[in-house]
């Protein structure tokens, strides 16, 4: 009997969620603490470029700096999508944001839509700022209609492949102080991802580890979009493996979409005023 107005109410929640995502992006950009994260990749890249000036990819005359740019774009997408939502969910659970969403009709829908939009927008801002140092190597890149189409696709698929998994991971954390573990894990996964060090130069077992996670594939995808065709020779199998890339990211997306609602719902069910109060208590007495 509640079904007559339910689709309409859900749709209203989705639209409210879009407003939420927009507002939170606005607040985030004005917050120095967040801005550091948003600008981290462009700044890292600018520094990397400075050190790589004049160097070329071994055996070619291709600028090393141009080679690293797409890898960092891929890493930016993966890092933004994987670590961001997990850490905010843990924080939002403790300060009562999630409980507030639960107390509002269809509030969880608004919350999730808002989060996804906010992470998409802030990651996008970060990628756009990367254009500034990127101009220095633009001459070496392949920039045409295909580049932009592929980059847009990779960005969207990357978000869908990482945000749900991150939401699930964040729901599993017991306290917000455990988000440090997620950052540590992400850093470890970046090592065999082929972003800072060619994956083909790693021992084979590490190559397999790297290829199991989205970092490698998002980096590969971004390289396939922005580097000249000839650079594919440096990749595993001498190919961009575009199909495999979308395939693996697709599997991550499906796994995330299946897991996230289950884990999130289970976690949210346990939330109540007293759990929020307990978190506050712990925060006040221990300071974390």
């Amino acid at each position: 009997m509640t079904t007559t107005t339910q689709p309409e109410a859900r749709w209203a929640a989705v639209r409210a969620g879009l407003t939420r995502g927009w507002l939170e992006t606005k607040y985030s950009i004005k917050e120095p603490g967040d801005l550091v994260w948003i600008l981290a990749f462009p700044v890292i890249y600018a520094v990397v470029l400075l050190f790589m000036r004049g160097s070329t990819v071994p055996g070619t005359d291709f600028a090393l700096g141009a080679m690293v740019l797409p890898s960092l774009v891929g890493m930016g997408i993966a890092f933004g999508g994987l670590t961001g939502p997990a850490s905010t969910i843990a924080v939002d659970r403790e300060d009562g944001t999630l409980l507030r969403a639960k107390a509002t009709p269809n509030g969880m829908i608004g919350y999730l839509v808002g989060k996804i939009l906010m992470f998409a927008l802030t990651t996008l801002v970060s990628l756009i700022v990367m254009v500034i140092p990127g101009v220095m190597v633009a001459g070496d890149l392949r920039l045409d209609a295909r580049t932009w189409l592929l980059l847009t696709l990779i960005f969207l698929v990357g978000m869908v492949a990482t945000v749900p998994i991150s939401v699930a991971l964040g729901s599993l954390l017991k306290t917000s102080s455990q988000t440090g573990l997620l950052f540590l894990g992400s850093m470890l996964l970046i090592v065999p991802s082929g972003i800072f060090y060619p994956i083909t130069a790693l021992p084979e077992w590490l190559q397999w580890v790297g290829q199991a996670f989205p970092y490698y594939w998002l980096g590969l995808g971004a390289r396939s979009a922005m580097l000249p065709e000839s650079m594919a020779a440096a990749e595993i199998g001498g190919s961009w493996r575009t199909l495999e890339m979308f395939g693996v990211l697709g599997v991550w997306a499906v796994v995330g979409m299946v897991l996230a609602p289950i884990v999130l719902r289970r976690m949210a069910r346990r939330e109540s005023g007293s759990t929020v109060a307990a978190a506050r208590e712990r925060y006040m007495t221990k300071g974390y």
Partner: protein
Amino acid sequence: MSAQDALSPSGDVALDVRDLRMRYGTKDVLTGVSFAALRGEVLALLGPNGAGKTTTIEILEGFRMRSAGEVSVLGEDPAHGGEAWRARLGVVLQSWRDHGRWRVRDLLGYLARFYRPYATAEVSRPWDVDELIKVVGLAELANAKVMTLSGGQRRRLDVAIGIVGRPELVFLDEPTAGFDPHARREFHDLVHRLADFENTTVLLTTHDLDEAEKLADRILVLDEGTIIANGSADQLARELTTQAEVRWTSEGRRHVHAVTEGDPTGFVRQLLTGDLGVTELEVKRASLEDTYMSLVHRAETDQAQQTDRTEQTEEVQS
């Protein structure tokens, strides 16, 4: 369109709780709570810390599964309440710290949007946000960041959020904790306004008897997981304070005896004929406040696991 009409509770009962029980592991927190609330009624759930107030209210809000008993909130079981049901409830919990970065008006405006689809012919939802901000006295702070609000201002925002959807029933958990007397009084006016003009049912928890007396049509006293009294402040005074205290001095020692039932005269007659050395005799009927304070005191000492609390009285009774 008619979805909400079908959900209206039959009759005027907003809340109906029967033999509600809650057990965490081996600890019984609620051991059979029963009460009901009519539409537009303001109920105060009064009790010492640890009496089970928050547990009760969280079960009614649908945030906690009960162990046993029957509960009906606006005609539905909160354990299975849908979103349309949730739209008719307002929840104000203790200790919110959420949305610190948001501006007051942005946050209320955002939350208000979720309620718009649930407006009916009788209830226009949500509140006009600017009007609501004025009602809770935050007009000058409409553009302030939530984290910059003082404790009392934050609490008023919480109340505004709780009622932004024009709920038929509002839960307020310790709403005035940390308020100064002025803020407390303004808050009381707000609750009266809700009940009188909006016909909103209010269930609030408090451990402050004075507040319960000022706000509530009816007070439920919760102690050790069960309701030990239920009525207006006047009724409570009669119901709870049947006991009288008899104090006297005998052989240089001061004695106190609580007569728990009926007329203390019989006990006094016996005492005087049995012990001719009695002086400084006093017979005093306990006030509601005395009774409540002794309840609170006992709950606190229970928690501190002190067992020597009734020594003096027991000495006399034995």
